[in-house]
Amino acid sequence: MADKRAIALDAQDNTAVAAQDIEPGDAVNVEAKDGSTSSVTATEQVPFGFKISLSDIGDGDKLLKYGQVIGYATQDIPAGAQVHVHNAQGLRVKD
């Protein structure tokens, strides 16, 4: 089966956006905006438009998209997992 696609908005990012529905076990080819590519194996379902983690992210670690901090992990997130409100939160919500 062909690899699934995800898009990293910046080469520094530890999250990427699923360009199609991703199923557990799928090999995901990650295309960064600068043309570089990497790959990750999905550990769970990541629907089109949702984020997938590109590396193991620790509880409290910063989440990067667009090369910017979009929030932090509220629990350990293994590579290939879905990143969303169940395991992530905005930084400024801490105020």
């Binding site: 898009i7 956006v17 089109f48 949702f50 984020k51 910017q68 929030g71 969303h84 905005g90 919500v93």
Partner: protein, 395 residues
């Protein structure tokens, strides 16, 4: 030449040729029912019981809409209690409009026995002005004579990857050609305001951008709410956007990459050309009215749609005098709403087009709409009521 438009006495170029009847309400609506080629604004709140600051906003909306290059001539009346406030004095508004050289008829200046008499005068004036406006011809104009406004709606991940960047490509082109572009939605720069401030033409403008975001956060706190519980909206989250910072970083892509020339209030006309941040409210039935009053001749709405493809008959122009182009980069939204969406940039996500190729298609579409092509939603015979963005309480 890039499009064919109507050249106005003040040198601006319109893409439509309306006769505008003001203020909104029963009298104007009846005049418009009688006379083809007219339009009016529907705002349930005309300013009665509003603070001086908010009444000034009503005045800016009315004068601004009248000065919009898409308006050939204006019929104005002073019927209604709000029009008794000094800010909304009909002769004062008429003088501000007439200063541009645009024909304006005040039909309530003389004493009148009944409102029906104002109808009669208004209908007669509107018929004459419409007929005269029909003598005007489109002339060649340059991309630098475009004035654009944009809102992004029900954002999802496609908005930040392709939808907003495609608009940004258009915006860069128009500003680099000498034109004017507006973007805003202050709640949707929170978390990305530092990046916008870095693009300001000077530190003062940068600080104004930071201050606008901060004021929005503080205002929400004053009401005991956290801005993050208002925005991202549930539809953003259901579509995969997690935090306000993430939404904002995608949202600001619609402003392109050029320097930000200034920060404007709702419905404020810029002193010069360039890219402007407008400190406004995200609601689509408010924001497009404000852009049109600031002079935008075409508005765009960049729709994510994600989890929210419920209403496939999307709204026609909410800028009253300025048409709206509907855009999306989400394949599901585009497929469901093809009868309403004019432009699709999801090709960038699919890899079948570069951002530049997709953005160039949008530039071409804007030129065609500027020359008279109707956006799809403009074919609907429906006008949504507009909400003016008030900053103070009602009294």
């Amino acid at each position: 030449m890039s499009f064919l438009g109507y050249r106005r006495p003040d040198g601006s170029v319109g893409v439509r040729n309306h006769v505008l009847v003001l203020p909104g309400g029963l009298v104007s609506q009846k005049i418009c029912e009688f006379v083809k080629g007219t339009c009016t604004v529907i705002t349930p709140d005309h300013g009665t019981g509003r603070t001086a600051r908010d009444r000034e906003t009503v005045a800016r909306v009315m004068v601004g809409l009248a000065l919009n290059p898409n308006v050939a001539a204006v019929v104005l009346h002073g019927v209604g209690p709000a029009m008794q406030y000094p800010e909304l004095n009909v002769n004062k508004l008429a003088a501000a409009i007439a200063a541009s050289g645009k024909p304006v008829e005040v039909v309530s200046e003389q004493p009148y026995k009944s409102t029906l008499e104002v109808y009669e005068r208004g209908i007669k004036a509107a018929r004459r002005l419409v007929q005269e406006a029909s003598e005007l011809r489109r002339e060649p104009a340059a991309d630098g004579e475009l004035v654009l406004g944009v809102k992004c709606g029900t954002s999802d991940s496609t908005s930040g990857i392709a939808g907003n960047p495609a608009v940004g490509h258009l915006y860069d082109h128009v500003v680099n050609s000498g034109g004017t572009t507006f973007f805003g939605e202050t709640t949707e720069i929170i978390g990305a305001e530092h990046l916008l401030a870095q693009r300001a033409v000077n530190p003062e403008v940068g600080q104004q951008i930071i201050d606008a975001a901060l004021e929005m956060e503080e205002t929400a706190k004053k009401y005991g709410d956290d801005i993050r519980s208002i925005n991202p909206i549930p539809a953003n989250i259901e579509a995969g956007l997690t935090t306000l910072e993430e939404k904002s970083l995608g949202a600001i892509a619609k402003s392109g990459t050029v320097p930000i020339s200034g920060v404007l209030k709702y419905a404020e006309r810029p002193a010069d050309k360039g890219l402007y941040f407008v400190d406004n409210w995200m609601s689509s039935n408010s924001i497009h009215l404000g852009y049109a009053a600031a002079g935008s001749t075409i508005n765009l709405i960049q729709w994510g749609g994600g989890a929210f493809v419920a209403d496939t008959l999307l709204y026609p122009s909410q800028g009253v005098v300025s048409p709206t182009i509907w855009c999306t980069a989400n394949i599901n939204t585009y497929t469901a709403c093809q009868e309403s969406i004019d432009y699709y940039s999801g090709t960038v996500i699919e890899g079948s087009e570069t951002l530049e190729q997709a953005g160039d298609r949008l530039i071409d579409l804007v030129r065609r709409v500027a020359s008279g092509t109707m956006p799809k939603t403009d074919t609907l015979n429906y006008q949504e009521a507009n909400k003016i963005y008030f900053r103070d309480a009602a009294f």
